[in-house]
Amino acid sequence: MANTGSGVWVVAETRRGKLLPTAFELVTAAKSIASQRGETVTAVVLGAAEGAEGLASAGAAKVLLLEGLGEFADDACAAAIAAAAKAGAPRTILLSSGVFGRSVAPRLAVALNSGLGSDAVALELDAEKRLVVKRAAYAGNVTQKVLVKSQSGPELATVRPMAYPRSAVNGSHGTVEKVQGDVSAAKGRTRYASFAADASPELDIGAAEKIVSGGRGLGDPKGFELIRALAQAMGAAVGASRAAVDSGWIPYKHQVGITGRSVRPRLYMACGISGQIQHMGGMKSSDVIVAINTDADCPMMKAANYAVQGDLYKVIPALIDAIKQARG
């Protein structure tokens, strides 16, 4: 049975009453598909969230608030979205590919009898206007195109954060509808107990436009004070190589790379990072790469758009001064 649905849905993730900005990236991605098929975009928001109405003036023809969900439990979220999708019958559903998307999208796919393409860096349509997901595999060394053959259910895809720009407020006026989320299929098997916010609420690397990362070349944990100072001057988030994380210089959540996190900032500044393939796999699709390294021949210096040879302990302080001067 073919997919008879219509329209592109985006699932807007919320955290403790706040809408995450990836929702606006998903709206941009959804519009690119919907416009080619003459369809509209619906934003499904999990729980009543601050800022959710903003989606209705940024390109979503409809905002559907699923109420009564509580904090993020995989099965409850998937159950509520699946129930709404059965009622609303979209042709395509997009989610962001962070922990949330990886947790929920597969459950949705099984519940809705759908195909799921994961972690798209771009979405396309084939000649029959079916969804094709462009994604990276083998640590970013291979680009795959995956056709989502919708069966009876909608075609599903998760989209990598930062792959699409955020949709701006454009004066459109979508409707806002509230419905009670139906979580009965989850059978109450997951209980959300508590949340512990990060001690220092730094910019998260997953959603950062700019990242300054430090590696083994820092030599000791104090080096991250310098990295943080540069990050602050740049308005950037702080990343790290595995060597720096394994040395205990900085917590794991800052680790960039295949065993850490995949990032796609507009600017990635690698300081004292040699650029081994496992690190590159997590960041080489960044728009612009800057490398600061004593070794002009290391892979990171070769991959960089701007390669600065030198001791980071000399270059970074000079850089911070120059940035301050440039800002006036």
Partner: protein, 262 residues
């Protein structure tokens, strides 16, 4: 109370520098392979849970006959036995269909707690834990950096999120995906290596699992890889010139200003 734990592992190429052949397929034959590095953390956590709760750990892998190597490698670390899911009918299955095979095997093996690593180094979708749980209709959680409490009936875990840490309690049976932060994997002992040679590895096919061949393999999968291309190396960039760190810093800031990063 003892508990039946299973850990799902995949045999993956040890290198991610792979070639694409004339037929447009990724060529991995002949490359050195091993257990997917992320899965080592899942194996370790399974062993720690067994040490705490008692019970057994079964290693489950879907793949070609060679996947038996990684099953035995996990047994050498202390797992009790293994199940190899191998059948030409499975070839070309996408993530969802592969998970349906794993789910059928886990049900047949009567597992109560199933562990996965974060993702594989080849496909890297990170979706197998949730897919498998969905087919089993069990609760699941991924991104787990700590098992805070475990009993026969439920599991309390810490999940690393982008903004902090969630604590959740799941009733068993359940599927858990772990991340590298959770533990430091052990090395195999000599005794373990000896045991691994003799340990039972059961082989199940689609027929053993009662699976419908029409829903397996490339033809039974709801997604299809329609294109593969190597990612071109980034073009050579600009070496920032300057006699001193200050000069280089100034020159770099000029470039960053032009690109509107400053």
């Amino acid at each position: 109370m003892p508990i039946k734990i299973a850990v799902c592992v995949k045999r993956t190429p040890a290198s991610t520098s792979v070639a694409i052949d004339a037929a447009g397929k990724v060529q991995t034959k002949g490359l050195p392979h091993g257990i997917n590095p992320f899965d080592e953390y899942a194996v370790e956590e399974a062993l720690r849970l067994k040490e705490k709760l008692g019970g057994t750990v079964t290693v489950v892998s879907a793949g070609e006959a060679e996947a038996e190597e990684v099953i035995r490698a996990a047994i050498a670390l202390g797992c009790d036995d293994g199940v190899l899911l191998s059948d030409p009918a499975f070839a070309g299955s996408d993530g969802s269909v592969t998970a349906s095979v794993l789910a059928a095997a886990l049900r047949k093996a009567e597992a109560k707690l199933v562990l996965f690593g974060k993702e594989t180094t080849d496909g890297a979708s990170g979706q197998m834990p949730a897919f498998t749980a969905a087919w089993l209709d069990w609760p699941s959680v991924i991104g787990v950096r700590k098992v805070a409490a475990a009993s026969e009936g439920e599991l309390t875990v810490e999940r690393l999120m982008e903004d902090g840490v969630d604590t959740l309690t799941l009733s068993l049976p359940a599927v858990v995906g772990v991340i590298k932060e959770i533990n430091e994997p052990r090395l195999p002992s000599l005794k373990g290596k000896m045991a691994a040679k003799k340990a039972p590895v059961t082989k199940w096919t689609a027929a053993d699992l009662g699976l419908d061949a029409a829903k397996l393999g490339a033809a039974g999968s709801p997604t299809e890889v329609v294109g593969l291309e190597p990612v071109p190396a980034r073009p050579a960039g600009l070496v920032i010139a300057g006699a001193t760190p200050e000069e280089k810093a100034k020159a770099l800031v000029e470039k960053l200003k032009e690109a509107k990063f400053i």
